[in-house]
Symmetry: C2
């Protein structure tokens, strides 16, 4: 596959944590935001349920204020839904027919922050295992440099976001130039884990935190491969499909 | 092995890049500095050749100034030895009987910087594949929290330093608590690569850079496992064994 790759093939790079973002230029690139457990997975579920747009905000107060303008507020911090909100960060919160044609103002510990940090990118899209094939097809068709941007956990590296970066890079390896060590590592970690992603993630510390909250089912849900065929993307200040 | 681990087993964590250092506390911990290609490997070679101490400095000018006080100056930037210095960063520079009982003032792109950044640690030691078993034995005997601190390449993640962190963690898994995702990833990457470290590293971008400089032999040398049985450590402002 590599032999057929054009010398002008676009680059695929991976940012393993928001703390590493200053080392990379996003200018003229497509940035794939990755927060597998659980913001980017839940956003995909929301669109599947008919949400018309997600408006990412930095603070829960902003999400609450927007409820007066017809938005549904969604807020998560430290893995838990905040009091006073009907939606948190669990994919099951977003599996509801009540969300059809609704606008959601969302803030999460890691994922929505990355959306705001990526403002200089040419385009920002949302990646999760739930829409992996659609994201890969989108990047291949666009034929532009890609940055897989892992949200991590409070700026620390995490396994589940890195595994998705590896899965995406693996899907695009015939059409993109992959030289960065972060992506090479992500591909190898994904190759190790791909036959049983859920059990692999459950060994991760992030997953261990979730188990303590009794929401292990979220992990099984979020590891489903390509059940949705759309790609949420930022248009102006909103995510749409 | 895990079942016999004491609940008070010390923690093993991995810092994948100096840019992630602010997320970790080094206080009361043993920090293992890792710059496999090539500072920490070359420092081990120097001690094997009889160097009495390494004095890490931030700037090449400091290394030159110390030559007037009887030090040998060693300086590398961007993978190359700087003009005016007899020693750079290649392990072969340090395989010399002329270094016996000499003091070396050294500055490198990534490795010596990490030594300076780790000042708050309880102890700072030097890790490389060349002294892997000795480092593992030292950490096990000390029975204190360990941080494997990967120097990376200009703050970016690199594979070879991560592989060493994984090798060390793997050696210590029966005696340390390992929960951080970075260490779990490092262990898996090492398990993938351990039967042929050199060829694995040659696929890494860092190694590709070295190949362009024609110093691929350095990689083969630096991947030798446990040929030295000492552990360089910081005492005051110097590294000694």
């Amino acid at each position: 596959m590599t032999a057929s790759k054009s010398t002008s093939a676009p680059n695929f790079e991976t940012i393993l944590s928001p703390a590493l973002l200053p080392l990379y230029s996003l200018h003229g690139k497509t940035v794939v935001i990755i927060d597998i457990l659980r913001a980017t997975s839940s956003i995909c579920v929301g669109f599947h349920s008919g949400v018309s747009l997600f408006h990412p905000v930095a603070h829960p107060d902003q999400a609450l204020a927007l409820e007066k303008e017809g938005f549904i507020g969604a807020a998560e911090r430290n893995g838990k839904k905040l009091d006073g909100f009907s939606l948190g960060n669990s994919p099951f919160d977003y599996l509801s027919s009540h969300l059809k044609n609704k606008k959601v103002a969302i803030t999460t510990t890691n994922g929505t922050r990355c959306l705001h940090l990526s403002y200089e990118a040419d385009e920002i899209i949302i990646g999760s295992f739930l829409n992996l094939k659609a994201v890969a097809a989108y990047c291949k068709h666009k034929n532009q440099d890609v940055i897989a941007f892992c949200a991590g956990w409070k700026d620390k590296f995490n396994l589940e976001d890195t595994l998705f970066a590896g899965a995406l890079a693996n899907s695009l390896s015939a059409d993109f130039t992959i030289e960065c060590d972060s992506t090479l590592a992500a591909i190898d970690l994904y190759s190790n884990a791909k036959n049983n992603l859920s059990s692999y993630i459950k060994k991760a510390s992030h997953a261990q935190r979730f188990e303590r909250f009794g929401i292990e089912h979220d992990i099984d849900f979020c590891m489903q491969n390509s059940i949705y065929d759309f790609v949420p993307r930022m248009v102006g200040d909103n995510l749409v499909i």
